[in-house]
Symmetry: C2
Subunit: 344 residues, 2 copies
Amino acid sequence: MSQPQPVNRRIVLAARPNGMPTTQDLRLEEAAVPTPGPGQLLLRTLYLSLDPYMRNLMDEAGTSYAPPIALGAPVVGGTVSRVVSSEHAQFKAGDLVLSNAGWQDYALSDGTDLTALGDMAQPSLALGGLGMPAFTAYVGLLDIGQPKPGETVVVAAATGAVGAVVGQIAKLKGARVVGIAGGADKCRYAVEELGFDACIDRHDPQLAQRLAQACPDGIDVYFENVGGAVFEAVLPLLNHYARVPVCGVIAHYNDEAQPPVPNPLPGLMTTLLQKRIRLQGFIILDHYAERFEAFRREMGEWVAAGRVKLREDRVDGLENAPAAFIGLLQGHNFGKLVVRVAEA
Amino acid sequence: MSQPQPVNRRIVLAARPNGMPTTQDLRLEEAAVPTPGPGQLLLRTLYLSLDPYMRNLMDEAGTSYAPPIALGAPVVGGTVSRVVSSEHAQFKAGDLVLSNAGWQDYALSDGTDLTALGDMAQPSLALGGLGMPAFTAYVGLLDIGQPKPGETVVVAAATGAVGAVVGQIAKLKGARVVGIAGGADKCRYAVEELGFDACIDRHDPQLAQRLAQACPDGIDVYFENVGGAVFEAVLPLLNHYARVPVCGVIAHYNDEAQPPVPNPLPGLMTTLLQKRIRLQGFIILDHYAERFEAFRREMGEWVAAGRVKLREDRVDGLENAPAAFIGLLQGHNFGKLVVRVAEA
């Protein structure tokens, strides 16, 4: 019997989601494994990173930093991949690389978007604690948030891929850190394992009061990655000269229409003004050239020394990526969410 | 016949305004001229500055940088004053000083809040083009806005005390400058006299379209001093990496309740994020120690060389201050508004 011809399973955007994506929007299909041409190489996906930004790329408008995913095309995403075969001078079969192969078993690359990973003990960390999410935390917190010893830093999604690193780096810099997370288990983990000073359940009906109690000296840095009710609870607690790096607003990624409210903009602008607050958006893609080396060195040391702990929420099987991604948007993951697509 | 005893006319806050102040809220009354005690001096107000921030101090909440004006107390305000009599070692009768004597003919001072003005040709400039409003423009534009040659700078209230200086300094720095002002006369003045590249009437029903036409390369710096419809017209035109110094929101100072609108916050945060925009509030009081000397030197040179033009809107008589102030909040002034309280 001959070896069965391998197929390329891929999850494509079948329809643009209305609000929260459904598994119907994300269709598993099979295609032939492509063959590399001159200068190309074939990649086998080992780990697929699932990150909230992907939701924005499912909308027709896309984002300012990336075009929308075309209907019928594989969902985009960072991967750790193994080179299967190579017609490229710089890579050979067996090499482990960081890639953007997307939600599929196999992908071609011309090598330009690959980073060689060498011999990493835990390659999936290149998608999390030593990769984009932690780098986002590092740049947003240190370059924009600029916490000083004794200041209070607040971060939501506190056990997520970004929030957990924000809080731990802030602790290393001498700040008091208050997290917000979904549920008692995550809150306990944030305090007991990650060393946060306090963590508040985002489902608590008294969120604003709890946050105020946990921040008796106000808030100096709010790392914004959720928006919504958390932002509203944070705003009145911000101190003079507070800094708010704006990294994401996951609470709104599935919004369809905004409900009518008394216009909050005048109040926001007045608060920014009177408290001399800086609100600054950033996209991590902009910062690789100048800051990634410093991040990799410093973060590598922190992780090796056990000063920053990394928790991975690993899902097995590409076919489970859609449900895992929907869970991510609902806050069901506990740690950095990755899909193990094939044995390393 | 003996000289009639001089009285101290003063305008006190009779009632906290509901929305736009009325002349009933601001009552003219007479009191005895106070007598300086040891270490004090008596000041005669020559010029009173009228500025939008005073409106905020009429509300019970006050601001984060100054307490509210007490009911029955004179309205606060910067003044150019003459020392009438002095029991203070550093000042003598006849000295011209910058003071915070407020809306009254006479005031006592212990000298701590006075700045000697020496022999100024046009002392009222210490309240405008060489004083707080122009310093606000200088710090907000240069330190926060940081315009680069060829970038587009937008400023509203373009012929006002702050806006006119923002635009002219931006031109000196090589930016393209688009103003927004109330009415054709002001717009013509901004372009023909102040050298703005374009100026749009804020009453134009097609404000957003006109602004887009005047900013074909988008907006890199928006100096926010009005809020409301102007901010809404600016937001979609902001470029990547735009800077928005938040100096004031005069359009909202008389708001009573905010009308319900589809919540604009998620959209604002998404725009800040995707375009990497920095929105930063500032209060000029914070910057005197570090920046006022540089401002005074540089601005003095620009004004002396005719590179920055200053237009004063002068009202005669303390009794006319309330109506002039209400006009200021409605945009009726044309240039820096000062009240001449007594002959210099």
